[in-house]
Symmetry: C2
Subunit: 270 residues, 2 copies
């Protein structure tokens, strides 16, 4: 048993899709989330900056007593994993690239995988390196989709404009005949409607949020490091930027809220 929270960080609110996947699978675990909204998004940043910011956050999370760190940001996973591990002492560090790649190489049938992400994620070559590391004979095709994030953040995940943008960004991946596509940015699960619509039923979408949460679950199971069953979890959300903005935007990523529930009996049969 280990009562400490799981530390999760991202350049902003996007990593909340990972936090939510963790909470879904482990509803008794406490989450300490840090969103670096003041300095995010990391996508357009230089990798030295992303390494600096990521190690600062990791040191903060370690000082707050987390039992695990999840880098819930593809850009930071790509640029800063080793640096974060170096400052995290014996706290295990998970990230979002490898879990998704491992799932994708298993899911592909024609051995052609695609990945979409920010400019930094794509140019970092982190996905190429991770695919090479699996020793599987698959080819990887990458495409940067820089404007997707802004559409998600303003809640515009349907309609002609985003579908048109999706067609444009995804055309090279369709031309490359990928049958499996990694959503290589934590914002993109919220765009899986348009991505699925454009790519069609034959393409399997891999969410790094879900895959990473499953890895975290396995790690805590192997170590017997879950919290006691009966204690209520305590989630903390910390932003380097404006708290009100984080809360407003973050709700879309973490999940909607159930308001008042009406009671209504139908048919009278129990």
């Amino acid at each position: 048993m280990d009562e400490r929270p799981i530390g999760v960080f991202d350049s902003g609110v996007g990593g909340l899709t990972v936090a939510r996947a963790l909470i879904d699978l482990m509803p008794n675990e406490s989450i300490l989330y840090f969103g670096d909204s003041a300095r995010g998004p990391y996508g357009p940043r230089r990798s030295e900056e992303v390494r600096l910011f990521s190690t600062q956050i990791a040191e903060f999370l370690v000082s707050e007593g987390v039992k695990m760190i999840v880098i819930a940001c593809n850009s930071a996973s790509s640029a800063a994993l080793d640096a974060v591990r170096a400052v995290s002492d014996d706290v295990p560090v998970l990230e979002v690239v490898l879990p998704a790649v491992r799932a994708a190489v298993k899911a592909t049938r024609n051995r052609r995988i695609g990945v979409i992400g920010t400019a930094l994620t794509v140019s970092s070559g982190a996905y190429d390196a991770a695919v090479a590391g699996t020793k599987e004979n698959v080819s990887l095709m990458s495409a940067a989709c820089p404007r997707f994030v802004e559409f998600v953040e303003r809640g515009e995940t349907s309609g002609e404009e985003v579908v048109e943008l999706g067609r444009e960004y995804l055309a090279p991946l369709q031309a490359a005949d990928v049958d499996t596509l990694i959503l290589g940015c934590t914002h993109y699960p919220l765009l899986s409607g348009v991505i699925h619509f454009v790519m069609g039923h034959d393409v399997v979408l891999i969410s790094s949020a879900d895959e990473t949460a499953r890895d975290a679950y396995a790690l805590l199971t192997e170590r017997g490091a879950f919290r006691e069953k009966d204690g209520s979890p305590e989630h903390r959300f910390i932003s380097s930027g404006d708290a009100a903005l984080f809360q407003a935007l973050g709700t879309r990523f973490l999940g909607p809220e159930i308001g008042a529930v009406q009671e209504r009996l139908l048919g009278g049969v129990r």
Copy 2:
């Protein structure tokens, strides 16, 4: 443009995983959710009862002016799809079996698919029929996991007991060497940690909630039937059972809530 809400129903709170997937992909859409908690779960019910209850709910949703009905319950999808369509006039009806089956037959590499669900879902043969309907040369192995629902509903999704139960339920599917597993009950996405832990990295998990939401997205895109972009969506949750219980339990399925957000600047770099 079509301002009407999307109707979603289930025998209780489980279908909220589908509602959430819909809200994730289409944050501007309004949801009218009916949970038949007073008469659920449907899993142990006779199929005639499930058909009666489902048509009552569909008639209610149509009378409330929904633009689409999503049967967010595997038992009801299995037992009552035709009956629901018969009472829904020209309102399109989606369900959760076919989208998951279609994704699974695409994802399998060794042509061996598994499905887990309630006793009614498994005994109904709905998944066998749906697989046969794809005309794909795949074999389907089913396993009923009746006790999974109670574990999810009391929030016990980790720990030795549920892992042991998972091992027991999933052993026949492992022996059958399935490489793709359909989570054939709306509660099960919340157990994908334990299911993934037991089945291992080589098995692709298919969530009917995600697949169904993508189908709903495609349908509304093709019909140009989304709401206006700028109107705030209004979600309504109706239960035939106790509203307070629905709300307490439902929050786990629909998503956690962001409480107060703290602001904190690290490193002073912007």
